[in-house]
Symmetry: none
Subunit: 195 residues, 4 copies
């Protein structure tokens, strides 16, 4: 794999191109599955020669990791910011869930890949980072939920929330009846019992 350029102009171009490739790969993987999508198909979709993919990713698996990173990193960054704001736990929770749902519907393909390739993510050294990111995010949401509405069944509610939000990727359609924000608020209504 060619190294990432150091000169800023080239580097930016490289980074933008790489991001674009990751997004395209997410779409392809979501549609046909990771294993059933060939590197040559990917390259063709992206108007690239087969070998050129290897300038950006040392192998197919690293491309998959890149998809997960592209999904998790901005989500985690912005959620952390919200988590550290001064607002009440309940307000921060609402902000996080809105962000989260918006992120999910904007990265539907990433989410679907993320779910489909669960078995890969769950084992293997190179997936450590992705696993850590997910855990961190879940803990962040869990903490906010616990503090926003303490209850015996806090854990079950967290798990339910994770389930419904992640599942959103499977049914959400742009221009549907509900906006991401409405969806997020709807979920919160279910999870937060006290008024």
């Amino acid at each position: 794999m060619a190294a990432r350029p150091t000169r800023p102009a080239l580097r930016d171009r490289y980074d933008r191109r790489r991001d674009e490739l990751v997004r395209n790969a997410a779409r392809a993987f979501a549609r046909r599955g990771y294993d059933q999508t060939t590197m040559q198909e990917l390259a063709a979709t992206m108007d690239l020669a087969t070998g050129a993919l290897y300038h950006y990713f040392p192998g197919k698996e690293r491309l998959l990791i890149a998809i997960c990173d592209q999904l998790m990193e901005p989500l985690l960054a912005r959620a952390s910011e919200i988590g550290e704001q001064e607002a009440s736990p309940r307000e921060r929770l609402r902000a996080v869930v809105r962000l989260w749902v918006a992120h999910v519907v904007e990265h539907r393909d990433h989410m679907l890949v993320f779910q489909q390739e669960r078995h890969q993510i769950e084992s293997g050294e190179e997936w450590r980072g992705v696993r850590a990111a997910r855990k961190t995010f879940e803990r962040l949401v869990g903490d906010l939920l616990e503090r926003a509405d303490p209850a015996d069944d806090a854990r079950l509610r967290l798990l339910a929330l994770l389930g419904m939000v992640n599942h959103t990727a499977q049914w959400y359609r742009p221009r549907g009846a509900l906006s991401p924000r409405q969806i997020a608020d709807g979920y919160l209504d279910l999870v937060l019992r006290t008024g």
Copy 2:
């Protein structure tokens, strides 16, 4: 592929063996992924010669379909029975959700495979039956939910319920803190607002 035997004694043995193979395959696919599990690995796991698998399934994909059938058929059958009972919608909904959660945790591997191979299930002629079964089940739950607790956001609640129950396969561990029944009731508490 050898045909299913017609003599009852042989046929029963055949059916039991086939069911066992499907269960084993579900486990393997859930762990390593469908594409990354080879037919020879499967055969070895099941103490079978490679070719013997093809006495039961005409190909790898049909084995995957069989997993989905083994998951959906009994669930759909028993849920339909409940749906036609005389009890109130709310009671029937509770019964269905309890059945459903119990089924999910008892078929965790099947569920994980079902989710991982979403992209295969969603396209292709031979998957029509599986898609129909899922749709039927979802409609059944949706109807009960609507009648148990009419509300503006019935659809979102259904989708939330689907998300949380299905997601259960990813975190449930036997001998955990919560029994399937408690989980089911917990979910119902979230979804049914009017007490």
Copy 3:
């Protein structure tokens, strides 16, 4: 392989059955090709279990040899008889060619198999007998031709005659315009210039 029975009644039944199987195999091989016809297909066609074939033939190749034998042995036997008759060479040649053409059209499938599997026949120890039979027959025809109409180009005429007669299997249809006898006489008209 079970041995050929010794008791006459059983032995005859066995032989008749075996002959029938060989004929059926010839048909199947002629249609789908030797390698592309499976032993299980053969067995099914003959209303037999797969394993039963091995009571009659120790393996697939021996079945192929049996087809060649069923083709060559009666032809060679009757041609030899004719060759030793007292008639003139020309009359004997005519008799042999008529026999030959009649045999070819009656064993079209055998002939087609014989031609298709030329490469197998031409090498391998177990094919020695078949090769010898063909050579013997060709020599017999060649001798008669030479003596019926001596000429410089006797060899080429023999080869031409072999070509046209064998080729007959590829176009002859029962109830066609020409009877086997007419065909044979037509061939002789071409090959015998004098007279």
Copy 4:
């Protein structure tokens, strides 16, 4: 399969290589039979990796078709030219038969394969072109024969001619007693009775 290159230099190299591969395959198939020759054997013979064959042919059967095309196309092209010349039918027939015999002995392997795989050629959609080419050629020869020497048994003579010429592939050896031209003329002597 990689596409045929468009740049002239590369395309020529590709075409030459492909032709070479087809010729080699014809040799191998003629010797060991189509089904008994593996793609890996072929590749090894041609100093190629297994997968490289698939840059030139999408599958084994297409390779077989290519052999038939390599046999029939130039023959048909040149025979058509001759058929449209101004010479007498008899002269044109002689020219075509000489061409034909020369072609057969120069493509012995192709011919043997063509005959051995008759059953494949005769059925299947992708063989339509090959069947058409054969029919066209046979009709061309038949027309010339009919006009060169009208007779009641024209059809039988055509079939005899087809038989002998095609059969030539099975006995001709380079540096044998007869040149292709002598063989062709010998065949014509048999088939043309008058003059």
